[in-house]
């Protein structure tokens, strides 16, 4: 039984069946990739996992509890962090503050009225955030504003913000979309280092086959809202149905 169990999920937008009977099981401490051509329903599925969309039917169990009907912040508090396709950071805040916020969320929960104690007195949180920035090689940029970072650094920062919460599951929505080759390789390297340092379960949506095959242990191929096949990367590469539906149009 995996940490994330998706069973029979359906989602319909008007006449479009975005997800049809999707089953997915993500085992703990693995990296599970979801691939598929444009419009296959990858993002819809991800949005169903984090509370942005509610499936019409089916169940999504995380760590033994249902996530359906919960708000995004509640699902995050359960242990799911999400990296967005375009990095979502706090652009008007400093890099250090960006990483401190998830630390506060982890420690204090969804809301706490800590209005008179000063941030400077929160040594523990600061240490934790600085250590995380050290891990992603951004400690020297701690005083910069989020908006002044390069795209690659924004991505790095967003990952640091997710990882500092020590999530049980990290969801990545095309983490290398629109990145230059060098940045993509950096991201892969970063993700692999993070996995070596701390055991983490990842679920990744990706177009770039290079990224998928250098990270994932299991791959699910989605086509027209239904899982076509789920297997190891080596088997996926040679799978005739996958070639037909997806890989035929991409270079491997």
């Amino acid at each position: 039984m995996g940490i994330l169990e998706v069973k029979g999920v359906n989602k319909r937008f008007g006449g479009l069946q975005a997800l049809g009977d999707v089953n997915l099981s993500v085992a703990e401490n693995t990296c599970h990739a979801i691939i598929g051509p444009n419009g296959a329903g990858k993002s819809t599925l991800l949005n169903c996992l984090v509370g942005k969309l509610i499936p019409d039917s089916g169940s999504v169990m995380f760590d033994g509890q249902s996530v359906l009907g919960r708000k995004p912040y509640e699902i995050n508090q359960m242990g799911i962090s999400r990296v967005f396709q375009t990095p979502e950071i706090f652009a008007d805040l400093s890099v250090l503050e960006n990483v401190m916020i998830p630390c506060f969320a982890k420690r204090d929960g969804a809301f706490r009225m800590h209005a008179v104690e000063s941030v400077e007195s929160e040594a523990g949180i600061r240490e934790e955030a600085l250590a995380m920035l050290e891990d992603v090689n951004m400690a020297d940029k701690k005083g910069m504003l989020g908006s002044s970072l390069s795209r690659g650094d924004k991505r790095r920062l967003e990952m640091a913000m997710c990882l500092v919460q020590r999530p049980k599951l990290l969801l990545l929505d095309e983490p290398t979309a629109g990145m230059a080759r060098a940045d993509t390789n950096n991201t892969i390297e970063l993700l692999n280092t993070i996995r070596d340092k701390r055991n983490i379960t990842m679920c990744i949506i990706e177009h770039d086959m290079n990224v998928v095959f250098s990270l994932a242990e299991r791959i699910t191929v989605l086509a027209q809202g239904t899982p076509l096949v789920e297997d190891t990367p080596d088997n996926i590469k040679g799978h005739p149905k996958v070639r037909e539906a997806y890989l035929g149009e991409a270079q491997v």
């Binding site: 706090f90 982890k106 706490r112």
Partner: protein, 403 residues
Amino acid sequence: MLGLNRKDLTLMMIVAAMTLLAPIILNPFPSDSAMAQFNAGYPDLMQRFVIFGIFAIGFNILFGLTGYLSFGHAAFLGVGSYSAVWMFKLLSMNVIPAIVLAVIISGLFALVIGYISLRRSGIYFSILTLAFAQMSFNLAYSVLTPITNGETGLQLALDDPRVLDGGSSGGSLPVTQLFGLEMRATTQLEIGAWSFDFNVGYYLCAAIMLAVFYLAIRIFRSPFGIMLRAVKSNQQRMNYTGLNSRPYTLAAFVISGMYAGLAGGLMASMDPLAGAERMQWTASGEVVLMTILGGAGTLIGPVLGAGFIKYFENIFSKINDNVLHSWFAVMPDGIEDFLVTIVHPFVGKGWHLTLGLMFMAVVIFLPGGLVEGGQRIGRFVTGRRNKKAGGAEAEAARKQPAE
């Protein structure tokens, strides 16, 4: 000290010194000189400076930190005033219970309005708050007359119960006081040609403003303050980081509503009457102007903005044609009349024109308000000094983000 870092402590000390010495600082001209009309150091106006300062500091906690632009904050000011006057009528002329009740009632009022309005953001939030404030204004004028005394406004009367003061006080209306210290009591100090007014009411307001300014600094520098800035910056990221933005915004809304109520309560404490026009949308707009003019999201900006607007309202509006003629009296007749005609639309009843032009100039050239103007001047000065010393440090300082 005081749980503030050195920079904030310096700011706090400067503000404290300025407010405590205001009666002197604001009266730089001898009282019988031609420039005396630019003196702002009379009790009534100084009280207004600090009371509107409190109003704007509170507004800035909501607008400056979370970015939610409330267009109905005058409603809380009005509610605070009515509550305070009722306290004077029913309980005592002591200002303490009046101010406390004003803060509590406006806080509750803000909780209700905020709970509903914060379901929307952006322009819809602004419209909802505006609608609530206009509703309050119109209700105060009409159906709530038993509480608000409608058009006349709520005033003291000789036959008010005033339980603690023991009812009637003889033939004249009692005055507001703090344990016997009358709010209107003023000590005049004459030094040579100068005269300075030290007013009890002003110093009460100033002390309270310093206290709530200190509280605002603490909020700005707290984890809660960071969360409010996070709301403004990226609510989506916030929600996916396990934080519920709704209670944060509601808390900020209620806190700023209580600041407004406090300002309203103080207004009534200085002059015990309350009218519905205090809740009108123009009053709500005024605090928005003050905050933006001074610098939204900065600590000192709203206070500067409030002082600026109140100064213009009270000083520029008093410059009439007679005063203008006396200024330009040294000129030949034709030129004198010409100059008076040119200047006339900008002063006296036309002071709004000057204020409007200045507001436009600030918004266009200094989006960070007067505070940004101050920072630019500061950077210019230090930049020139450093250029002599090498200039590398100034470059580094410029690359550091502003707080």
